[in-house]
C-alpha cells in the first residue's frame, strides 16, 4: 500500500531575553547549576510571578512575522503535572487564550515550488529545568537554571507531507526567529527544540491515522532521520496487521531509531485553569504598532532587495538570505569593501556579485568542511573584505587569493595584507622583473616562439602560463601578456 505521511511540528523557541518570563533571574546559558534559579524559579513558598514585558513584545513580533492574529487579551493558565524539573508542580502556559493564533509560513520545496504551512497557534510558556539522568549513578540531578526561561511554543497544522518538508519548515522558522532577533537559534543549547507529530494514512484518504510524538530532535539532520524512521516503522506496523500506539517516542541518533519512552505513560489530565496570580495580558493597537515598527527586514524582503541592489540572481539571493547571520555577513563584506575601495576607484556596489561568489564559494565551503555555522566563521567579514580589496587593486590574483583565504581560515595572520606580506605573495608588477621572466621564457621555449611567429598566436596563452609558473603565480598576468606580445613582435 502507498502511505501518505502526515506531519505537524511543535517548536519550542527560547526567547532571547535578559531575564526570565516571570522572574528577574538571568537567562544566560552555561552558568553553574542552580546559580540562576531565584526564589520564584525554585517555587519557594509565597513567591509570585510578574510578566516580563519583553516577552510580550517578542511574541507580538513573532505573530506579525507569521501573519497571525494577535489576541487583544491572552491569559496565562497553569498546566499541572509532577516532575522534578517542574518546581511549582505546574507550568505557567497559555491554553484557551494564546497570544498568537492562525498564522502561516511559506516554505520552498526541493522542486522550487512554494507551500503554505498553517500555524495553529503560538503561545507563551515557561521552560522547565534540566534533569541530569546520566550524571549520578543512583540519582537524577535537577538543575533549575533553565526553569522560567521564556518560550514560544509554535504549533503547526499537520500540513507537512515528508521529512524534507518538515525540515524545510523548521529551517524557515529557525531562520525567521533569528531574523526577528527573538531567539539565538542555538540548537545544541536547546534554544530551538522541535517535537514532531507523525502519522501515516493510505494515500487518497483524509482521515488522520494514530500519531506518535517524537521528542529530542536537536538538529535538522536528526529530525529528518527520525521522521523518516518513524514513517517507515509505522508503515511496517500497519502492514504487518498491527496498530500504531499513540505515545511519545525519543530519537536515538546513535542507532538512528525512535523508541517509546520508558517512563510509564498515564492519561494526562493537566487540569488547566487561569493562573490566579497573573492578570490577563492586554495587547493594544499601540503595542502592536510599536512591534511592527521594530520588525527587522524579513527574509523575503531582503531577498528581493539583494536582487535589486546587488544585481544577484534569485537563487543566489535566496541562499544568502537563508539566515540573517549569513545575509548580515554578506552585507558587512560589501560595506567594508566599499569603505576600503573608496581609497581606490572602484564602485562598491558592483562588487556584490563578487562578494556573493566568495561567500557562497570559499567561505561556505570552509564552513561546511569544518561543520561550522556562520556565527563561528574563522574569517570575519572585515578580513574577507580586506582580501577582496587586494584582488581589486591588483595586489594579488584570484588564484593567490584562495591561498590567502585558507591562511586566514587557519588563523595564520590577522589580515590578508599580513598573509600576503608574510608569504611574499604580492603580485610582480615591476616591469623590469617581468621583462626578465619573459626573456627567460622566450629563451627556454624556442619551438613555441617559432609557432607563434608562424601565425599560431594561440600559443601565447601557453607562454603566459610559463611566465606565471616561473613567477610562482605572482606576476601580473595582464602585464606578462602585454610584454610577451611586445617582445615576440620584435
Amino acid at each position: 500500500m502507498s502511505w501518505e505521511p502526515v506531519i505537524g511540528l511543535e517548536v519550542h523557541i527560547q526567547l532571547a531575553t535578559q531575564s526570565k518570563i516571570f522572574s528577574g533571574a538571568s537567562t544566560a546559558y552555561g552558568a553553574a547549576p542552580n546559580s540562576q534559579a531565584c526564589a520564584e524559579d525554585l517555587a519557594l513558598p509565597g513567591v509570585l510571578p510578574v510578566v516580563n514585558a519583553n516577552v510580550i513584545r517578542m511574541a507580538v513580533m513573532f505573530g506579525l512575522a507569521v501573519d497571525a492574529a494577535i489576541a487583544p487579551t491572552s491569559v496565562f493558565a497553569r498546566k499541572h503535572y509532577f516532575y522534578p524539573d517542574l518546581p511549582k508542580g505546574y507550568q505557567i502556559s497559555q491554553n484557551k487564550l494564546p497570544i498568537v493564533s492562525s498564522g502561516q509560513l511559506d516554505i520552498t520545496l526541493d522542486d522550487g515550488r512554494s507551500k503554505r504551512v498553517r500555524i495553529t497557534r503560538a503561545h507563551l510558556e515557561e521552560d522547565a529545568g534540566k534533569s541530569l539522568h546520566e550524571r549520578f549513578e543512583h540519582a537524577t540531578g535537577i538543575d533549575l537554571n533553565r526553569a522560567g526561561t521564556p518560550l514560544i511554543e509554535c504549533v503547526s497544522e499537520p500540513d507537512l507531507r515528508s521529512p524534507g518538508e518538515a525540515v524545510a519548515y523548521a529551517r524557515k522558522l529557525h531562520a525567521l526567529v533569528q531574523y526577528l532577533g527573538i531567539c539565538d537559534g542555538n540548537m545544541q543549547e536547546g534554544s530551538f527544540r522541535v517535537d514532531a507529530n507523525v502519522s501515516i494514512r493510505p494515500r487518497g484518504t483524509t482521515a488522520l491515522g494514530t500519531r506518535t510524538e517524537i521528542k529530542n530532535l536537536n538538529s535538522f539532520r536528526f529530525m529528518e532521520q527520525a521522521i523518516a524512521f518513524e514513517l517507515e516503522r509505522q508503515a511496517d506496523v500497519l502492514e504487518s496487521g498491527g496498530q500504531v500506539v499513540q505515545e511519545t517516542r525519543l530519537y536515538d541518533p546513535d542507532r538512528g531509531q525512535t523508541r517509546g519512552m520508558r517512563t510509564k505513560e498515564e492519561a494526562h489530565d493537566y487540569r488547566y485553569f487561569p493562573d490566579p496570580d497573573l492578570l490577563p495580558v492586554v495587547v493594544d493597537a499601540a503595542l502592536i504598532e510599536a512591534a511592527r515598527a521594530a520588525l527587522p527586514e524579513l527574509p523575503q524582503a531582503k531577498r528581493e532587495r539583494f536582487m535589486s541592489d546587488y544585481g544577484l540572481a534569485d537563487d543566489t539571493a535566496q541562499a544568502l538570505t537563508a539566515s540573517r547571520a549569513l545575509a548580515d555577513y554578506f552585507e558587512e563584506v560589501v560595506e567594508a569593501l566599499a569603505q576600503q575601495a573608496k581609497a581606490g576607484d572602484s564602485a562598491a556596489q558592483t562588487h556584490g556579485q563578487n562578494v556573493a561568489n566568495w561567500v557562497m564559494g570559499a567561505l561556505a565551503g570552509a564552513l561546511n568542511r569544518d561543520a561550522l555555522e556562520i556565527a563561528d566563521t574563522r574569517v570575519s567579514a572585515e578580513q574577507l573584505a580586506g582580501l577582496l580589496a587586494r584582488i581589486a587593486d591588483g595586489t594579488i590574483s584570484g588564484k593567490i587569493a584562495k591561498e590567502v583565504f585558507e591562511a586566514l581560515w587557519a588563523g595564520e595572520a590577522a589580515s590578508a595584507d599580513a598573509v600576503i606580506a608574510a608569504r611574499g605573495l604580492q603580485q610582480i608588477t615591476d616591469s623590469g622583473a617581468i621583462e626578465a621572466l619573459v626573456e627567460q621564457v622566450i629563451a627556454d621555449n624556442p619551438a613555441q616562439v617559432q609557432q607563434y611567429r608562424d601565425g599560431k598566436t594561440k600559443v601565447l596563452g601557453y607562454l603566459v602560463g610559463q611566465v606565471m609558473k616561473a613567477s610562482q603565480g605572482k606576476a601580473n598576468p595582464a602585464e606578462a601578456n602585454k610584454m610577451l606580445a611586445a617582445k615576440l613582435a620584435e
Partner: protein, 95 residues
Amino acid sequence: MSLTADQVRKVARLARLGIDDAQVQGYADELSRIVEVFAQLEAADTDAVAPMSHPLDLVARLRADEVTESDRREAFQAAAPAIADGVYLVPKVIE
C-alpha cells in the same frame, strides 16, 4: 453526586497523595459530603454570566526585562533534602 472509591484513588494519584486502601472509603465519604454541597450551584442560572477569575477587573502590569536577582544558591539549598555539586537529587528517573 458522590465520589466512588475509584475516583478517590484517581484524584489521590493525580495529586500524588499516597493514601492506603484502608483510608480510601473514609475519604470517599468525606469528599462525597463536600461535593454534595456543590449541587447548590446547579440551580443558578449563569448562562449570561462570564466566569470571574479575579476579584478586580484589572489587566497585567508588565515588568521591565532586567536581571534583578543574584546567585543565592547556598541560602536556597540550605533547606534542601538532598543535594550534590549544587544540584538537587531525586531517585533515579529512567526516561
